[in-house]
Symmetry: C2
Subunit: 234 residues, 2 copies
DNA sequence: CCGGATCCGAATCGATACTG
DNA sequence: CAGTATCGATTCGGATCCGG
């Protein structure tokens, strides 16, 4: 174990010893969306070997980042501790930083419900949203369906598909998503260019990057204003 | 190379592919202090194998995070690109996060000039400092000597020792550090407890964690108010 | 000295199979 | 469902070596 130490007495070093191993931060990313069972994590991280997932969960527990919570009569879930939840702004900032270097996806690259959820949180412009009317979006990307409800500065995201048996009856995921969304649209990977501002909403619709399935097409503009990542590129 | 991909089209994933390898973020940490030559980085990361340092620098360049800059007649330095410099708030936040879990140092753990510099930046409370008079601290920890000049919301840190041949004549490091500091003090690893608020300034001096070598002892209180990391512990 | 490249054993990771 | 066990493929670490 001492072999994996960086040998420095420093906060950054300690942090990367806690969450710097391969896969660790992606597990944290998914757990930031909500508690997950072992199998959920495996589906959200399809390429992780199971022994590595086990090992990481164990290390994260020892580091006080993750907690294992037994569920009455129905298995157990992993969830972030309060300390682990303090990573949220860091993971969001990293997502914003990495977003700028995402090119076109490799052909085998996938989009998971949790990664898309975090991507929307990453791109959420609270200030812009606060000055816009509430809106309720249903987004389809690959086989993932998300419902993003924006109300002033608040954002709530529910995962409609893949379903994933609700882990907790109190789970908010499905709550209050009974009505219809204001707009339903499908998108391909090119949605990155819309969020990056490389495409105007009109262009995105014209090019077929975004196709409206139901509801008001003009809401795509509000979506683009609400979810945006600056490319402060030189 | 595709073997090291996480197989997801996601900003967080892209980010950890760029800077998630072992040692990468520590190289970034040191480069956030200023441009460094290969040898400087080796000294700042004493336990890094030289082949790994080479490999990481190459990867970081390919990722557009680091740039290699030849110096006229005197070698070359590595420096962060503008994109790499955008990591500063993230690295500082990670340092703050990890700081809370730093226990007592392992016996072989060291403190480097760059890591201590970043630690002070991490702990710097701009708001508190802005409402305090300017102050000029000289801090000795192990064999590192730093000069931290606080002037309102601004913090400037110079590394007085180890010296490290100035990389650029315009380097600010030694500039304007001719006068005497307002207070000079030495500290051991216990300074962590002062910054974490586990120790009052008076206790820190009493326990010998901090010993004033010159100047006004009362400035230790101002130092503690200026450099502080909350332990939002449960 | 600076800026690496090379070699090799040890540790880790990835893929798959298997189990309570 | 929630992991262990196994084993070959990679990567890391430590040391040495090399061209300016």
């Amino acid at each position: 174990m001492a072999a994996r130490s960086y040998g420095q007495y420093c906060g950054v070093t300690t942090a990367v010893e806690l969450i710097g191993e391969r896969w660790s931060l992606l597990i944290v990313r998914d757990l930031l969306v909500g508690p997950r069972r072992y199998t959920d994590l495996r589906q959200g991280l399809p390429k992780i070997p199971t022994n590595i997932l086990s090992a990481r969960l164990k290390e994260l527990q020892e580091g006080g980042v993750v907690r294992r919570v037994p569920l009455l009569h129905c298995g157990l879930v992993y969830e972030l501790t309060p300390y682990g939840r303090e990573l949220e702004p860091i993971v969001l900032a990293l997502g914003r930083w990495g977003f700028q270097r995402m090119g076109e996806p490799q052909e085998d690259a996938i989009v998971t419900a949790d990664s898309l959820t975090m991507a929307l949180r990453t791109a959420f412009q609270m200030d812009a949203a606060a000055s816009l009317p509430p809106a309720d979006y249903e987004v389809h990307v690959a086989d993932v369906v998300l419902r993003a409800q924006v109300d002033g500065p608040a954002l709530r995201i529910a995962q409609l598909h893949p379903a994933g048996r609700p882990v907790d009856p109190r789970a908010q995921d499905r709550a209050s998503v009974d009505g219809a969304a204001d707009v339903v649209f499908g998108a391909g990977p090119g949605i990155r260019r819309l969020i990056a501002g490389e495409l105007t909403p009109a262009q995105a619709v014209d090019e077929g990057v975004v196709h409206v399935l139901a509801g008001e097409e003009t809401l795509i503009e509000r979506f683009a204003a609400t979810f945006h990542i600056e490319g402060g590129r030189a």
